[in-house]
Each structure stands twice: as structure tokens, then as C-alpha cells.
């Protein structure tokens, strides 16, 4: 009797381990990521030898080789060379948190810490916000009309040189003048914005001349209330989602990666959903159980177990080199040798993922189709409908939740899949999004960024890995949340179908 209970406890222990692991992953990621949004106080560290540092205390290692050690984020990379500094605790004289220390988030070179003495806080804010207004205007000019003019120019140039069409020079000239006008305007605006500077006094007394233009945000961390800090953190989280990356992905946000993932997933769905549903309907409604059908059904089930890397190899060889290469030879031959489609691109990534997720969609759709009670079909037939009408009006609408489950699962898989994308066009930094305002709006040949790959890339390939930790963990957190939400939705829908299935007694 006793031994039996023992076994049961062991089983329960295993079960619980699994649950704890799932929770653990979320906790670890959140604990490592979220603190980066928290506005940390900036310490003024005075050393016994008279040196002074300003910096965020990034960690303490009591067991370091030469006695307890503190890791200090001193920023000012342009001047000090590195963001982080390790100091011996035994040599610290005092640590204080003066209110006047300022932290500046910059476009380049990471954070700066210091004190602004030559200008008052209010005044600084006024100048900064007016410069930011100008900056916004400059950006919108650059990304607006100027961008499209320049694109037209390069297209015209291409036509003139490659196809030797004539009569375009005049048009070209006109565009060039227009762009010159905008550029002169832009340059004067930029100059005016760039000219405004202020000085930051660093911890060691050095003075760093900074441009307002380069400052993203100014904080006075030691002078912010708890509520203020919470507000800043929440804002920071959303800015992270919607901002562009800076400093080759180690700072700023991850918007292009999110956007790339979304477009990729949408494209994939366009391919995989109809094909998967059609195949499922064929298998469930039309096919008579024969050798061929059995073969198809079994291959689909088996295909689900094929490693994703194999799909990647196939995608590279077949879609990119074979299909893309042919498209280039036929339609874009005058651009060759520069390939248009014969290189990795979002369309190939999407197609590869579509093949990869096809079994998922088919299997879920089959389950959905199975859940439609036979009475429905028979009822409809008895009213004189053809098979097609039955399928269109009765079967598919009723099986839709199942099919959607499949699609959601496929999307969730695609959002996190990296290995096949590494071969079919994902890049570290694609500044041009695959979808924009220039004709034809969707650029299927463009390379793209992807959340999963972003984690791999920033985590393993960025030069300033200490500073990038926040970005990696938070990207992971966001991917985790997306996948979690998608899976949960799919599971909820599916459970409803299953309940229906068991109620109807099929």
C-alpha cells in the first residue's frame, strides 16, 4: 500500500516538474528582460584614490578573483571606449545619488551620464523639444517626397543605361532639380538643428560637447518618483515595440523585426491556408479510401515529423535557386547578374514556411471537418443541394473553427521558426520594409527581419553584447507572449470543437 503511494508521488513530481519548467522559462525571460525598462538610479561612486564615476550599478560579484567587485555602467562609450567598468568594492570610498546627475539616451554611442551646468532644465527641455520637432520634419521630408524622387531617378537611370531608351533625360533633369531644391532646404534645416549644442560635465570633470539633435531622451533618474518611474517603464516597453533599432540592433526598438514577422506570416497564410483546406476537404469529403488517399494521408502525418532544417535546405535549393533563378532569367533578365528573386527574399521564406506548416493546417482542418455532424450533410443533400453546395454552405462554415485552429498553430510555428529562414532570406538589418508606400507596395523580393532570428543574431553576433542583453531578453519576451497568445487561442478554439464533437457523439 505504501509503495504504491510512493509511485504516485513520483509521477506527480514529474508532472509538476514539467509545469515548473514552463513557468520557469517565462519567469527567467521576464526577470532578465523587464528590468531594462526600469529607470535605474545613477550612482556617484567615489574611490579611495580620488576618482569619481557616475554610473548605474549593473551587478555585484562578491566572489570575483580579487575580492568583491561591482560592475558599473558608466556609459559615455565615445569617450571611455566601453560601457561597463568593473571596480573593486574595497577601493570604493562612498556611493551617493545626487539629484542633478543626468542620463541621456542618444542616437549613437549609447547612454551618456553627467551633469548639465550651462543651461537650466526647463530651458534645455524647450530647446530639445524644438530641435526634436525639426528632426521629425527633416525625417518626414527625407522619407517622403525625396525618397520617391530618388527612386524614380534610379529607375530612370536604369532604363537609360540598360535599355538605352531615349527621351528620358529631360524627365530626369526635372526630377534632379526638384530633389536638389528639397535637399537644399533639408540641409539648411539640418544645419540649423545640428548647430545647437550643450555641454555635459562628466564624472571626471571632462566636458563633452553634445548636440541636441542626437539626444533621444533626457532623464534625471535620481529625481523621479516611483510613480514616474513606473510610467517611464511602461512607456519604454511600448517604445521598444514601436521604435526602430539603433546602434546595429543593440539599442532602440524592434519594430522592423515585428513587422517582418507579421508580413511573413500573412504571406505564408495566403499560401498555406487555401491549400491546406482544399487538401483536407479532398481527403475528408471527396476521396474514397484507396491506396492513393491512404498514401497522401500518411505522408501528411509523417511530414509533420520532418525537421525544419530540411525544409530550409529544400527552400534554398528549390525556391531560391531553382524557382527564383528561373523567374530572374525570364522576367528580370535585364537586371542580371543582380538577381531580383534568385536570392533570399520574403516570398521564399513564406513559401518555405508554408510547406513546413502544411501538415499542421491539414491535420487541424481534418479534425474540424470530422466535427461536422453527418446529419447536417444529409439534411442538406435531402434538400437537393449538390455536393459542392453542401461543402460550401454547410461543411466548411461548420468546420471553420478547426481550420482556423490549424492556421493559428501554423502562424505560431512560423513566428518562432528560425532555421529554415536563415537559408531563405532573413537578415540582420533590412531597413527597407517589405511593405511600404512605394509602388507596388508589397516587395516580395525584399529581405526581411524576423523576431526569432533577431534573438539569435543579437544574442550571438552583436559586438556590444553587454549592452544588448536588454534587447535580446525583451525580444524573447515579446516573441514568447505572441506565441503564447496564439497557442492559447488555438487551444481554446480546439477545445470547443472537441466538446462539440463529444456532445454530438461522433
Amino acid at each position: 500500500m505504501k509503495l504504491e503511494k510512493t509511485y504516485t508521488y513520483l509521477l506527480a513530481f514529474s508532472m509538476l516538474c514539467i509545469i515548473l519548467m514552463v513557468l520557469g522559462i517565462f519567469t527567467i525571460v521576464a526577470m532578465n528582460g523587464l528590468p531594462y525598462f526600469w529607470l535605474k538610479n545613477v550612482a556617484k561612486v567615489e574611490m579611495t584614490d580620488g576618482k569619481v564615476y557616475y554610473g548605474e550599478i549593473a551587478g555585484v560579484n562578491p566572489k570575483a578573483e580579487n575580492g568583491s567587485e561591482t560592475k558599473l555602467k558608466v556609459g559615455n562609450r565615445k569617450i571611455y571606449g566601453q560601457d561597463f567598468l568593473r571596480i573593486k568594492d574595497s577601493e570604493i570610498k562612498s556611493v551617493s545619488y545626487p539629484k542633478e546627475i543626468i542620463m541621456l539616451e542618444r542616437d549613437e554611442w549609447g547612454n551618456a551620464y553627467g551633469i548639465i551646468s550651462d543651461i537650466g532644465g526647463k530651458e534645455f527641455d524647450n530647446i530639445h523639444s524644438s530641435v526634436m520637432e525639426d528632426k521629425k520634419e527633416i525625417m518626414s521630408l527625407e522619407k517622403g517626397r525625396l525618397l520617391s524622387i530618388n527612386e524614380e531617378i534610379s529607375k530612370l537611370n536604369h532604363r537609360i543605361t540598360k535599355k538605352s531608351e531615349t527621351g528620358l533625360e529631360e524627365k530626369l533633369e526635372k526630377l534632379k532639380t526638384e530633389s536638389a531644391v528639397i535637399e537644399t532646404d533639408l540641409n539648411s534645416k539640418r544645419e540649423q538643428a545640428l548647430i545647437k549644442t550643450f555641454s555635459l560635465v562628466l564624472a571626471d570633470g571632462q566636458i563633452d560637447e553634445l548636440k541636441y539633435y542626437d539626444i533621444v531622451k533626457k532623464y534625471q533618474p535620481n529625481d523621479v518618483s516611483l510613480a514616474g518611474k513606473i510610467w517611464i517603464s511602461v512607456k519604454g516597453f511600448f517604445e521598444f515595440i514601436f521604435a526602430d533599432p539603433r546602434e546595429s540592433n543593440t539599442e532602440g526598438g524592434i519594430f522592423p523585426a515585428i513587422f517582418g514577422t507579421v508580413i511573413l506570416v500573412i504571406l505564408m497564410s495566403i499560401f498555406v491556408f487555401p491549400l491546406g483546406v482544399i487538401a483536407a476537404v479532398f481527403l475528408s469529403e471527396y476521396a474514397k479510401e484507396g491506396f492513393l488517399v491512404k498514401l497522401i494521408r500518411n505522408t501528411i502525418y509523417n511530414l509533420a515529423g520532418v525537421p525544419s532544417i530540411v525544409y530550409g535546405v529544400f527552400g534554398l535549393g528549390f525556391f531560391v535557386y531553382a524557382m527564383g533563378g528561373s523567374i530572374d532569367r525570364i522576367f528580370f533578365s535585364d537586371y542580371l547578374p543582380s538577381p531580383t528573386f534568385g536570392t533570399g527574399g520574403i516570398i521564399w521564406g513564406a513559401l518555405t514556411l508554408a510547406v513546413l506548416t502544411l501538415p499542421v493546417v491539414i491535420v487541424a482542418s481534418l479534425e474540424g471537418l470530422k466535427s461536422v455532424p453527418h446529419m447536417y450533410r444529409e439534411g442538406s443533400y435531402s434538400l437537393g443541394s449538390t455536393k459542392w453546395e453542401v461543402i460550401k454552405d454547410v461543411v466548411i462554415p461548420n468546420a471553420m473553427p478547426g481550420m482556423l485552429t490549424g492556421l493559428i498553430l501554423a502562424i505560431s510555428r512560423a513566428a518562432g521558426e528560425v532555421a529554415p529562414l536563415m537559408m531563405t532570406g532573413v537578415v540582420k538589418s533590412a531597413v527597407a520594409l517589405p511593405f511600404d508606400s512605394s509602388f507596388p507596395f508589397i516587395h516580395l523580393d525584399r529581405k526581411f527581419m524576423h523576431l526569432g532570428f533577431h534573438i539569435y543574431d543579437v544574442g550571438f553576433q552583436s559586438p556590444n553584447i553587454e549592452a544588448a542583453r536588454g534587447v535580446v531578453f525583451n525580444t524573447t519576451l515579446i516573441l514568447l507572449i505572441i506565441v503564447f497568445a496564439l497557442n492559447l487561442t488555438a487551444i481554446l478554439i480546439r477545445n470547443r470543437i472537441r466538446n462539440k464533437l463529444s456532445r454530438s457523439g461522433v
Binding site: M15, I296, T299, G305
Partner: protein, 693 residues
């Protein structure tokens, strides 16, 4: 009726469309297979002749050369040098001394010798910049000097922008002299006597000279002139240095061909016979080597020629009626035989470096002290000997998967059994989605955490974690009994909700054991676990090791096994369970005696599918291991898997090259392997369903 006809048409069209959709899925799968095969198969083909041009020449040819891409041919005759294209049309002609005894082309030089003098030229093919092929040649005389006393043969060993090294050898003496390009002797590097008659000599990669004698001795003369007589063959009829100068080919009198290379053992080189190609019964007259790779041509006394590749010992091509000598063009795509006539062969020899043995067998590579399975596909230089053994990768794949299973199988199966048989249904509804969400976790996240978070944590707290894994279950059992004894009158009350008792116990015990990890380490392992392990086993502890991957990949595999096993358990008809209970068997007896037995095949197939998943997993392995192509069973070593290898190397390889095709082969192996596992499990499950009915 019209309307109905239209309806019928639509109906039929729809039917055709759906059928097409269904079949297209099948086509996609077949396409994948065909495509992978198509890209892989050329690897196993040998070389073949795709074209042959014969050029007749009026005078006797003393020496010849072929341009890198095989479109130009130069040949030396008494008093001159002719440059012709592949059809024999004259392009250029240069004057050379009369009464030439030998003429040898070597890497942009031409060395001509008459009875008592040598003449050195810079000779190179040039293109006029507009065409993609070389279109002409330039001959510039560098210097001439008398042949040193007692020397019979002169060979250029290397040349750079300022100097040239020439090897001289006579009957029993050998010299290596460095000249400036103006002909001044800058340094006599080696000048030494040897006991036997020298047949041929070349410079080895480390600067020493390798000389072979007709009586079968191989001498190594190091840079300070010390001669060591390292090997003895049964007479030597031909000799040649392989590209990279790390190995050389020797043919003995009975026609056996051997490849030698040295390995470094405790500071001194020792030479080994690393390859042996058995004699075909004919005597070898000479050996010609490719500059591009390790292909070499062996010329036999009956005028036939065989093309071999050193690493794989593969016979690539055989031509019977060549007359005289054989050159291999710089790109390896043309052969030129010269004697009384010139024959130019176009050959297709794309993958000489791959054979079944190269992929799956042990090979003795140049510079190694023994045959080994090695994966090292690229090097910094062109003359690198690529090593394509798939064995370490297959080994790594299996090792990684097994470690993942070691961790995942007990947890997943026990967990599934508990949930299916013992858990309160309310809790079941809550827990099941959690496992399903776990299945959806992207592997890149698991890999990232495994590599950058788990690996250092595991290293730091390993003793604590190991101990925790042992004592926590014990503590759980103990606590469970305790709770039952003191807090519940009848043992059954907490039935189905055991996990609420266990949870705090796990957290407490496991946490404590991790906290005291260092202390445990000091007491149990006498200081440091890693040291302890190293001194006991001799294998170092690697931070990115099989245990880390086992945990991380186990994480990915658990939900797969869990769900399938749970499915299998649900298939066990409730009546059987009820019957067993009614017969007076306890819950546990029912589970172990009836349920598990009934679900056996389903559980086996769940484990197999889990194995299949682990085999193909890429990102986790890529990020959490060191990708070391090791073949060691130690749990604290890393490994490299087929899939990670593809991910790392495929985007970099040139389309159609040997490594490209090998990576496709790896993908094909993975595909077939996982597909086979799935088919097998499908079969098992099919049987299971039949049984259960």
C-alpha cells in the same frame, strides 16, 4: 434543367479542384525528395571524359604546360616554345636555347637545362582584360647559370617577387639554393651528401627536402642539413609532392602507390604511409599532380594513365592510349598528354574528394598520426585538405537526442501517466494546455536560454543541481507520506490533488540544494566538481555540454512525448480499467498491470517520435553546444549535429560544390530518418488501435 447542368458543372469543377489540391500536397512531398536526391547524387559519380582534341606537332616535345582554364597549350621543342590554342592554331612563339635536355614548367616559371647550364624564365599566361580567358603568354628571361658540379637535374621549388629557390640533385648529392631574380646566389640553404642515387626531390611544407632514391629510400633533409633516412620502400619508380606540400606520392617497383605524410609527435616528425593503392600489375613510369586539389595522374609503362584522388584513394578515370606524360590544368577540368603528339581531354571531375569511405569511414589525413573521423570542411587556404566525415555529426546527432530523451522520457511519461490516471479532472483541464503551450515554444528561445543562461548556471551549481535531482523526489515521497499520516484521516482525501503538497517541497528542497551547491562540492567532490571529474576521467568539463543540450532539447521533446503518450493512455478503454478495479486490484496495480500494458505500443511510438523530433532539432543545438565535432561519450562534452552543421555551413557554400552536396546529403539523411521513424510509429499505432478495438 439548364440550371442543374450548370450546377453539375460547378460541382464537377469543384471536385476536380479539390482533388488537384489533395494531389498537389503529395507532389510537394515527392518534389522535396526528388530535389534532395537530385542535388546529392552527383557526389558519388566519378570523373568522365567529355571531349578530346588531338593536336599534331612536327617536332619532339621536351616539355609542355597548360593554362589554368585549359584553353592554351605551350610546348617546348629544340630551340623554341610554341603557344597554341586548344585546336592547335598558333598564337605565339618564343625562342629558347638549342640543345635542350629538359624543360620544366612550374608556377609561372620555365626552367630549361642543356648539358651544362640552366636557364630560368618567368613564363605566364595573360589575358587582355576584356576576355574572361587567358589569351596569350609572356616569356621573360630571368637568368642563366652553370649547373653546379656533379648535379644532373634542376627543379624550381618556389618563386616569389624577389627570389627563387632551385633544387639541384645529382647521383649522391642534393642542394637547395636561393637565387635573387637577377641570378645572384643569396643563400645555399641545403647542400648535402646522400648515400644512394637520387631519383627525385621536392620541398616539404616545413622547408625540409624530401628526396627519394631508386633503391627505395626516402630521405628527409631538414633546414640545417641533417639527413634522416625515414622510410624504405621496395624500390621507387616515381615520386611527386601533393598540393599543400603536406604529403607526397610514391610508386614502388611493383606498381603499388603510396601516399606519405608526417605527424608531429613530441616535437619530432614521424612519417606514416597514410594511403595505399594496390598495384594494378603494371609498372609506374611517372606521377603528375594537380595544383588545385589532391588529384594525381599515374602513368604506366604500357602507355595507360589512371587518375586518382589521394584522400579518398578513389580511382577517378582511366585512359589507355596516352603517349608519354600527362598534365592537369589549374582548374582540374583538362588533361593534357604530350609525347609525340598533344592530346587535350576535357574532363568532368567535380567531386573527387567524396567517396563512401570519405563520408563514413576512417581516413588517414595528411598531418594526422592515425586514421580518424574528422569533419573540417574548409580552411583558410586553397590547398587545404577538406575533411568530410559525417560520422562525428551522426554520432553527435544520436548523442544529443539520447541525452534529450534521457531527461525527457521519464518526466514526460510519468507526467502523462499521472495526469491521465491520477489527476483530478479539473486540474487536468488546466494543465493540459500548459503542456501544449510548451510544445509551441520556439526552439530559438530554448536554445538561447540554454546557451546563454542555463550553461553558465549549470556550470556554477552543477553539484547542487545533481543532488537536487536525487533528493527532491525522495523528499517529495517522504513529505507526501507525512502529510497523509498527520493531516488526513483516510488516505484517499488528497487523491488527485497531490501536486499541491509537492509543490512547496520541490521548491524548498531543490532551492536549498542549489544554495548549498558550493558546500556540497567541497564536501563530496573535494573542492570542485569539474576538477574531480577531470582527474577521475581525464575528460575536461565543457561548459556547453551534452547535459545542457539534454535539458534544453528535452524541453522541446517533453511536450511531444507527453501528448502522444497521453493520447495512447486515453485509448485504453475505460471498461478494462473499471473491470480491473472491480476485481479488487488497487489503482496502482491497475495502472501498472493493465493500463501500461494496453498502451505499451503507443508509448513506444511516443518515445520514437520524440527521438525523431530531437534528431532534427537545429537552433537549440546550434546555440547551446559548442558545435564541436567530437566523438566522445562523456556527458560533459559538446557535440555537433547534422542539422546544426547544415545551418552553420550551408548558407556559405557555393552552389554545386562538394560541401554543398554533402550538406544536401545530410538533409536527405535527416529527412529519410525522421520519415522512417514516423512510418514505423504509424505502423505501431495502427496495430495498437486494432488491438484496442
Amino acid at each position: 434543367m439548364m440550371r442543374s447542368a450548370k450546377k453539375e458543372l460547378i460541382n464537377k469543377t469543384a471536385r476536380a479542384l479539390f482533388a488537384a489540391g489533395g494531389v498537389s500536397v503529395l507532389i510537394v512531398i515527392i518534389l522535396i525528395l526528388i530535389f534532395l536526391f537530385k542535388e546529392t547524387i552527383p557526389v558519388f559519380s566519378g570523373a568522365e571524359i567529355t571531349g578530346k582534341n588531338s593536336i599534331s606537332v612536327s617536332s619532339k616535345i621536351i616539355g609542355a604546360s597548360i593554362s589554368e582554364r585549359g584553353n592554351l597549350i605551350s610546348y617546348v621543342f629544340q630551340g623554341g616554345l610554341s603557344l597554341v590554342d586548344r585546336n592547335g592554331a598558333n598564337i605565339n612563339r618564343f625562342d629558347l636555347p638549342e640543345k635542350i635536355l629538359s624543360a620544366e614548367f612550374k608556377k609561372n616559371t620555365l626552367l630549361v637545362a642543356d648539358a651544362d647550364k640552366i636557364y630560368l624564365y618567368d613564363y605566364r599566361y595573360v589575358s587582355d582584360g576584356s576576355a574572361s580567358l587567358d589569351s596569350n603568354a609572356e616569356l621573360i628571361s630571368l637568368f642563366q647559370c652553370p649547373m653546379p658540379k656533379g648535379m644532373k637535374t634542376a627543379v624550381v621549388s618556389s618563386k616569389d617577387d624577389t627570389s627563387v629557390d632551385i633544387i639541384y640533385y645529382g647521383d649522391k648529392r642534393i642542394q637547395l639554393i636561393k637565387y635573387s631574380l637577377g641570378g645572384n646566389i643569396e643563400q645555399v640553404k641545403i647542400d648535402t651528401e646522400i648515400l644512394s642515387v637520387i631519383k627525385s626531390a621536392e620541398v616539404y611544407f616545413d622547408g625540409s627536402l624530401i628526396a627519394v632514391s631508386e633503391d627505395g629510400r626516402i630521405y628527409v633533409i631538414d633546414e640545417s642539413g641533417n639527413v634522416s633516412d625515414v622510410l624504405k620502400e621496395d624500390g621507387i619508380s616515381a615520386f611527386g609532392m601533393l598540393t599543400g606540400k603536406r604529403g607526397f606520392v610514391v610508386a614502388d617497383l611493383s606498381g603499388n602507390i603510396s601516399v606519405f605524410s608526417s605527424s608531429n609527435r613530441e616535437g619530432s616528425s614521424s612519417f606514416h604511409k597514410i594511403h595505399k593503392i594496390e598495384s594494378s600489375g603494371k609498372k609506374v613510369t611517372s606521377i603528375f599532380l594537380s595544383d588545385k586539389d589532391r588529384t594525381f595522374a599515374v602513368i604506366y609503362e604500357d602507355g595507360s594513365m589512371r587518375l586518382y584522388y589521394s584522400t579518398t584513394e578513389k580511382l577517378l578515370l582511366e585512359i589507355n592510349d596516352i603517349n608519354g606524360n600527362m598534365l592537369i590544368s589549374g582548374n582540374g577540368k583538362n588533361l593534357l598528354s604530350y609525347g609525340s603528339k598533344l592530346h587535350l581531354y576535357d574532363i568532368k571531375n567535380n567531386h573527387p574528394d567524396i567517396s563512401f569511405k570519405a563520408l563514413f569511414g576512417k581516413i588517414w589525413y595528411e598531418g594526422y598520426s592515425e586514421p580518424a573521423y574528422v569533419w573540417q570542411s574548409t580552411g583558410g587556404a586553397d590547398d587545404f585538405e577538406p575533411k568530410y566525415s559525417l560520422m562525428p555529426l551522426i554520432f553527435g546527432t544520436v548523442k544529443g537526442s539520447l541525452f534529450a530523451l534521457l531527461f525527457a522520457v521519464p518526466l514526460a511519461l510519468c507526467g502523462a501517466l499521472f495526469m491521465n490516471q491520477f489527476m483530478h479532472p479539473d486540474l487536468q483541464r488546466l494543465i493540459k494546455p500548459a503542456v501544449e503551450i510548451m510544445a509551441g515554444l520556439p526552439s530559438v528561445i530554448i536554445g538561447f536560454l540554454g546557451g546563454l543562461w542555463l550553461a553558465p548556471v549549470l556550470e556554477q551549481y552543477l553539484p547542487g543541481i545533481l543532488l537536487g535531482l536525487v533528493i527532491t523526489p525522495v523528499a517529495v515521497i517522504f513529505a507526501g507520506h507525512l502529510v497523509e499520516k498527520f493531516f488526513t484521516r483516510s488516505g484517499g482525501e488528497i487523491y488527485g490533488k497531490e501536486i499541491f503538497i509537492i509543490l512547496p517541497v520541490i521548491v524548498l528542497v531543490f532551492g536549498t540544494s542549489i544554495m548549498f551547491s558550493n558546500e556540497i562540492s567541497t564536501v563530496v567532490f573535494n573542492g570542485d566538481f569539474k576538477d574531480f571529474f577531470f582527474t577521475k576521467t581525464g575528460t575536461p568539463y565543457d561548459q556547453r555540454n551534452a547535459i545542457v543540450v539534454g535539458f534544453a532539447m528535452g524541453f522541446a521533446v517533453i511536450p511531444v512525448i507527453f501528448s502522444l503518450a497521453e493520447d495512447a493512455l486515453s485509448f485504453v478503454p475505460r471498461e478494462i480499467i473499471a473491470g480491473s478495479l472491480a476485481l479488487g486490484l488497487s489503482r496502482w496495480q491497475t495502472v501498472s498491470g493493465v493500463v501500461l500494458k494496453a498502451a505499451k505500443s503507443g508509448i513506444v511510438s511516443a518515445v520514437m517520435i520524440g527521438f525523431g523530433r530531437a534528431v532534427g532539432e537545429t537552433m537549440i543545438v546550434l546555440m547551446a553546444t559548442g558545435n564541436t565535432p567530437l566523438m566522445s561519450l562523456s556527458p560533459f562534452n559538446g557535440f555537433r549535429t547534422l542539422s546544426a552543421n547544415i545551418a552553420v555551413e550551408l548558407p556559405e557554400t557555393a552552389v554545386g560544390s562538394s560541401p554543398y552536396r554533402i550538406l544536401f546529403l545530410s538533409a536527405l539523411i535527416l529527412f529519410i530518418f525522421t520519415f522512417a521513424i514516423n512510418i514505423l510509429t504509424g505502423f505501431i499505432r495502427g496495430n495498437m488501435r486494432k488491438e484496442s478495438k
